[in-house]
Symmetry: C2
Amino acid sequence: MVPTILVQYLLLVCLVCFPATEARVRHYRWKVKWEYKSPDCYKKLIITVNGRTPGPTIVAEEGDTILVELEDNLLTENLAIHWHGIRQIGTPWFDGAEGVTQCPILPGETFKYRFVVDRAGTYVYHAHYGMQRVAGLYGLIRVSPRHPEPFSYDHDRSIILNDWYHKSTSEQAIGLSSIPFVWVGEPQSLLIQGKGMFDCSKVTELGVCNTSNPECSPHVQTVVPGQTYRLRIASLTSLSALSFQIEGHDMTVVEADGNYVEPFVVQNLFIYSGETYSVLVKADQDPSRNYWISTNVVTRNRTTPTGLAIFNYYPNHPRRSPPTSPPPAPAWDDVESRLKQSFAIKAHQGHIIKPPPTSDRVIVFLNTQNTINGYRLWSVNNVSFNLPLTPYLIALKKNITDAFDQSPPPDGYDFLNYDIYSVANNSNAKSSNGIYSLQFNTTVDIILQNANTMNKNNSETHPWHLHGHNFWVLGYGKGKFDMYNDPRKYNLVNPIMKNTVAMHPYGWTALRFRADNPGAWAFHCHIEYHFYMGMGVVFEEGIERVGNLPSSIMGCGQTNTFHRH
Amino acid sequence: MVPTILVQYLLLVCLVCFPATEARVRHYRWKVKWEYKSPDCYKKLIITVNGRTPGPTIVAEEGDTILVELEDNLLTENLAIHWHGIRQIGTPWFDGAEGVTQCPILPGETFKYRFVVDRAGTYVYHAHYGMQRVAGLYGLIRVSPRHPEPFSYDHDRSIILNDWYHKSTSEQAIGLSSIPFVWVGEPQSLLIQGKGMFDCSKVTELGVCNTSNPECSPHVQTVVPGQTYRLRIASLTSLSALSFQIEGHDMTVVEADGNYVEPFVVQNLFIYSGETYSVLVKADQDPSRNYWISTNVVTRNRTTPTGLAIFNYYPNHPRRSPPTSPPPAPAWDDVESRLKQSFAIKAHQGHIIKPPPTSDRVIVFLNTQNTINGYRLWSVNNVSFNLPLTPYLIALKKNITDAFDQSPPPDGYDFLNYDIYSVANNSNAKSSNGIYSLQFNTTVDIILQNANTMNKNNSETHPWHLHGHNFWVLGYGKGKFDMYNDPRKYNLVNPIMKNTVAMHPYGWTALRFRADNPGAWAFHCHIEYHFYMGMGVVFEEGIERVGNLPSSIMGCGQTNTFHRH
């Protein structure tokens, strides 16, 4: 007979060690197609994944391999999906940034994305081709840790926020690239977990808008009184910066872009496109009623109604409207409150990854609006970015030197003379697909410098997203970055690491990252319209260390030349 | 001094011989993009070539080489253009049928179509990818002869007819491929040379419809009294069969699909999608006024208003409306009149190309509507056609045997038992991408057999178009084709050659062609919606004689494997 104590020991071994060692392959099969849907009660053609928007949530443990077999059923349109926040270590070709890391996926074809989710946290995925994200192709990636987290909760929930337009993606894109420029305007609705509510009385056409359509019944988060919820909140807005509230409930911020945050409490969470947060919420209010979950546009003079969902205390009916009005929205132009939140986000005490104390290179990115050949564009250091036909990763690895402009864009601007508070002429602006080469394993500082747009007394908020890396957020400031004094104020003690960060109006944001991930990586404003209008750059590092490129990423530009590997 | 007689002789040599020997390269650079246009006063996004729809007319002499550098600026959509009526002898890879002869052209890329227009005549071009033709990408090809024609005229003019929908191409395509099936319905307008006139009082939305928009001012054909006009008429309708009239003027039909016709006179010209005709019109009426050019839907119970243009007698003002009402439209369901025209079209006496007296193979194509897995489709011999990912031409030439179903579809149907007059069950219908292999240099007969649709007492008219060949039209008949008796009635004396021919309701049409053009060639109903729903087949012949494929047609399916040549 086996002694009981040994059996117990073996059981213990199984329980403790097994989950920590066995990484799994999570296999998804997705069909992407155009379908009529009414996310905010207004019927329009949108892009769905397996019939849904938001698409399926990817659920995995850190170390797992994700395999997504993606079938493009978009009739005549190509496709690419970016796994936002996943660093793609060793698989830079599966980052999903069309024109940077792969050719687009053709209609009828099935593309296999295969990558490791190496870090626990909350991430997202979305289309990264043309402006397809606007059409509704987005979803969540939830990677659970194999080790204890520095906080506890009873339930794990998630919500994706989005803004929503009734014009088609093509109509919007064509307006932006027309002379005269036609701006998309403010969104018609805000969606919480893919559901919003448009005022159908504004629509005269029959059969187009129907507020009793179940597709636009409000999202419901049901909670049990007394329990604590981890709520993962992601924003994939096309344009809008948002505030997020749960009526009468405090939220404790504990995670940002997959990194643990030294906890702090908010009533309003400000969230920019491309960001994710986890907040802890305790269902500690009067349990006899429901509460509003609400989201509002900030940073732009809002015309879009509040987005609403229901925080449902079990056993109240989930559709029962809260007896109160939704909480008031924060003032749209209250920059100070948003800056305050930016400053509040620090690395969790027990999870600090120290940044290198100095950097090897500092690049300052002046963000401006320009007119080039009559087109309204965004520029970085007076260069408006456009994508080449042959993706950078392939061109670099295969040494195709005529695939893109070989002269790199500038590392700075005319610091002395440029007035960030006035409408600049920027007559020397140009379009280019030149990129930044970073020396492998060096430390790079990026200073995002905001300025006035082409409208007087106007400076916008831009969330910048870096592919393939996390960066440390070293600091934020107002006005023009002072190359000599501002770095002394950097937080080198407990800076948060993120993949997306806001640059505030007339301000600057300082980032540091290690160029330690061989590949070609986009860094761009996550406002879909701004990236489309040229607000981005590409970094390359350690290309000689990139492995053999899969043939599946070929098929465009000069890539037809290459054999399968 | 050079004797005058010698100079005259040399001049004569130059005039006579030079044009006949010097084939030219006609070089076009086209940008294809989405633009807002109002062809019938209703503003929508359409696909333009160099800002225009119809696109530029290709003008050439027989033997010339056409080089079109085509830049796809459609944002996220691919593209392919078919040169309809051009046989592509020696260049089957430039036929432009996506999935058959090439991979689609990607956004941002420039594709070079290069082919010889070997025969004089009137041809067209149009998108041949998804249902993009519906979006407005079409135009005319006018190839003039190097030898005298069997008729004379003072001026050469052309007109393209089209039907026009206000829903977007995507909306239409998604309806057709939905369960339940959503039919596109009848068109909103008929366009003459890209211009129509919608009744804007039916549109409530502001700024969408404007009858004073110059983009929809009626097309004007200005004529000088007493002169004779060759009018080239092409139809590129998505759905509609049309009648075409010039008020008070006879039209003498002299050319059909690039082949000379034994002249006959009509007041109404019936024209099916994909057909071209030349008619001679003499400006021999009262010159003090203008006349209506009019077109109407036939074969379907019309709800679309008459399409109108102005036949303007110089020096009357071109915008002056004719004092009379447009001529009455022919009865939409008068099959006899249309059959009569079909029978009237014979080869011109002096230009008869005799068909081979017998054929090596007879293929009967039963045309039916079916439901397969809940989808409404069209089938040929119970097989609904779909395109493979790897174009046939490449798969065949490179011997990729898993690129498409290697079992050929049937050469016939259950002749004895199938009732073409009833709604058939067709429960054994299937979808396939199998194709017909034709022995090189053999003679093939095709019998197009019509039947009842899925609606009682309904049989439609279908214009079938063959790529890469002209065929002889041997006969038309009513009811079920009689394999033993009907061939005896074939016209083997002076049959017209065409590339597109109508199959009339509950009738059959017999064609003969020589399988003498190495390549893979689509043969399909030219109604865009019907081909999209599977109404087509592909023939292959003499693949071993096809030259090296250009790498520019690669990039999709399994074609990434191949090096450039």
